[in-house]
């Protein structure tokens, strides 16, 4: 544990992740799940409003997406499964119960590989999402009232519970990143944390190193990004260590993460234990799965991120780190393979994707053919790096390669470039003198040549010509 405390504490972290499944309609009714940004309460019906007399019917696609996810997580799919009612009162839950799964979840006992380590998955089950409470940010809302939007009510939700196998905030984050890549690869969910498709909660406790007892845990909620997950867990580990070292006790409670304050805060309210009084959902007949059906679904599984990473390393000679960056966004790994398929070299292709596309990636990619031509052009010395960036920007705007690269080529003509180099040397005697004292001062001279050439000079050749003249 990377925390500066007196005792050597070990972090013990388990995850509970809720994932909205990528179905078109809701879990138990035909209302559309495409409600993001839509006016409140426009995607509801008697079933998801919880009106008396309405009856739910299971969405087959949601079940199949859950089974596929469970298989990708190496879980044992249970042949017989049923739904249960989880009873509690809250305004975002119109029926007074959530349809979930209690003692016979759809799958159990899986694992996912995170950074070379197996993290055990306890169970993966299917349930329905709640509506949304609007607490603040609305001028019309007073301190006495909250607003309820039931558009989200009844959206298919997969709950994934891990064993407490994670040992640091970084591992917790890596777990969520890996899960997201996996779910996107199999098409189970868009898994966008900021849009609430993937909601991660961390159960966090600490214990002295070497102990095999579990400490008192807190449950962290309100986490809206991978970065927030890492910071929330880090903060909580430190807080618990401070509590214990000052002679206090960690209280088992739910704590929210405050992004503005960068700290966790207690959300404990009433002092009674949760009592959900689960019982079998009488309105939904149970499900049983035929072996042949499960085998057919397993056969349809695409290559999973772990296998893809291994292949990128083995076949294309990428580092494990680069392969992980590419596979975290499946589309980027696909672009990489297409570009290599178009004859570009693997390493520069990976570098350009990771260095120039990934940092601002929000779903738009250049066409593989044009991008491959760009990578090849840079390798061949036709374009310098700056020109490459310009061309990439045009490709991302939808231009074809011919159009994007029109008028751009690197000045590699010895004679022409030598003339510019000579002029720069004559005009900048002071920098030349600096270079004589300290040869690393060649950088500014290369910069001046680039500038004098209008950004077209081949920087490697410019450097060579400069050195050749200076060291003569």
């Amino acid at each position: 544990m990377s925390v500066d405390t007196k005792t050597d504490w070990e972090a013990v972290i388990g995850m509970e992740v809720h994932v909205q499944l990528a179905t078109r309609s809701k879990m138990f009714c035909g209302c559309s799940t495409d409600y993001l940004g839509q006016p409140p309460n426009t995607h509801t019906c008697p079933v998801c409003l919880g009106l008396p007399g309405s009856l739910p019917v299971i969405n087959r696609r949601a079940v199949e997406l859950l089974l596929t996810s469970a298989m990708a997580l190496n879980c044992e799919v249970q042949e017989f499964t049923k739904f249960d009612r989880k009873n509690y009162f809250y305004p975002d839950l119109p029926k007074g119960y959530q349809v979930s799964q209690y003692d016979l979840p759809m799958s159990r006992h899986g694992w996912i590989e995170v950074g070379g380590k197996r993290v055990r998955i306890t169970r993966v089950h299917l349930e329905e999402d709640t509506g949304k409470l609007v607490h603040a940010g609305d001028a019309l809302q007073s301190a006495e009232t909250s607003f309820v939007d039931l558009n989200r009510s009844g959206t298919p939700l997969m709950e994934i519970v891990s064993e407490p196998d994670l040992r640091s905030a970084t591992e917790a984050r890596d777990f969520a990143v890996e899960l997201r890549a996996l779910l996107r690869t199999i098409g189970a969910s868009e898994a966008d944390m900021e849009k609430g498709h993937l909601r991660a909660e961390a159960n966090v406790s600490i214990r002295p190193h070497g102990s095999d007892e579990l400490g008192v845990k807190t449950e962290l909620k309100n986490i809206n990004s991978f970065r927030a997950l890492q910071r929330a867990v880090d903060f909580e580990l430190r807080r618990q260590a401070e509590v214990l070292e000052s002679g206090g006790k960690v209280v088992q409670e739910t704590r929210g993460w405050s992004e503005p304050e960068q700290r966790t805060f207690s959300q404990r309210t009433k002092e009674f234990a949760q009592d959900y009084r689960y019982f079998p959902e009488p309105d939904l007949p149970p499900l049983s799965f035929e072996r042949a059906h499960l085998d057919a679904l397993a056969k349809e599984l695409p290559e999973l991120p772990a296998a893809r990473r291994a292949r990128l390393v083995a076949r294309h000679g990428l580092s494990a780190y680069d392969a992980a960056l590419l596979t975290a966004e499946a589309e980027l790994a696909t672009l990489f393979e297409q570009v290599v398929g178009h004859g570009a070299e693997a390493k520069p292709a990976a570098n350009w994707i990771i260095g120039e596309i990934l940092p601002a990636y929000s779903g738009s990619l250049p066409a593989a053919g044009g991008f491959a031509a760009l990578v090849k052009g840079i390798a061949a010395g036709t374009f310098n790096r700056e020109q490459g960036r310009t061309i990439l920007g045009r490709l991302l705007d939808g231009a074809g390669f011919e159009e994007a690269s029109a008028g751009l080529s690197q000045l590699s003509d010895q004679g022409e470039l030598a003339a510019i180099v000579d002029r720069v040397l004559v005009e900048n005697p002071k920098i030349v003198a600096d270079y004589r004292a300290n040869p690393s001062a060649i950088g500014p001279l290369v910069g001046l040549v680039m500038k004098a050439s209008g950004g077209t000079a081949n920087p490697g050749l410019a450097r060579e010509l400069l050195k050749d003249r200076l060291d003569r």
Partner: protein, 99 residues
């Protein structure tokens, strides 16, 4: 089995029922009678009967993932005691989501 007053209070709280003075004893006795009645079912020999959560002999009743029309916002809010700007209005909730 006899229910204690505390148990009655707990059940009432879970069901969000307000009890007046004296009603705890009343319901403790009434609910205890119901439980005694249910206990008599325990005398039935169920050795050869598999556990069952469902009385209908149905399995795998599912629908295709097809969108059906939803209610309009006006229809959805028609029975709401209070609504504003397209939302249901409830008393302020500030505590943690219990789910």
């Amino acid at each position: 089995m006899t229910l204690s007053r505390d148990q009655v209070r707990h059940v009432a709280l879970l069901a969000r029922l307000g009890l007046k003075d004296g009603e705890e004893d009343f319901y403790a006795e009434q609910l205890s009678h119901i439980l005694e009645h249910i206990d008599r079912l325990g005398q039935v020999d169920t050795e050869a009967i598999p556990p069952t959560a469902q009385v209908v002999e149905m399995r795998n009743v599912m629908r295709d993932d097809v969108i059906q029309p939803s209610l309009t916002q006006e229809e959805a809010l028609a029975n709401a005691p209070e609504a504003r700007d397209g939302f249901f209005v409830v008393k302020a909730i500030q505590d943690a989501d219990p789910g």
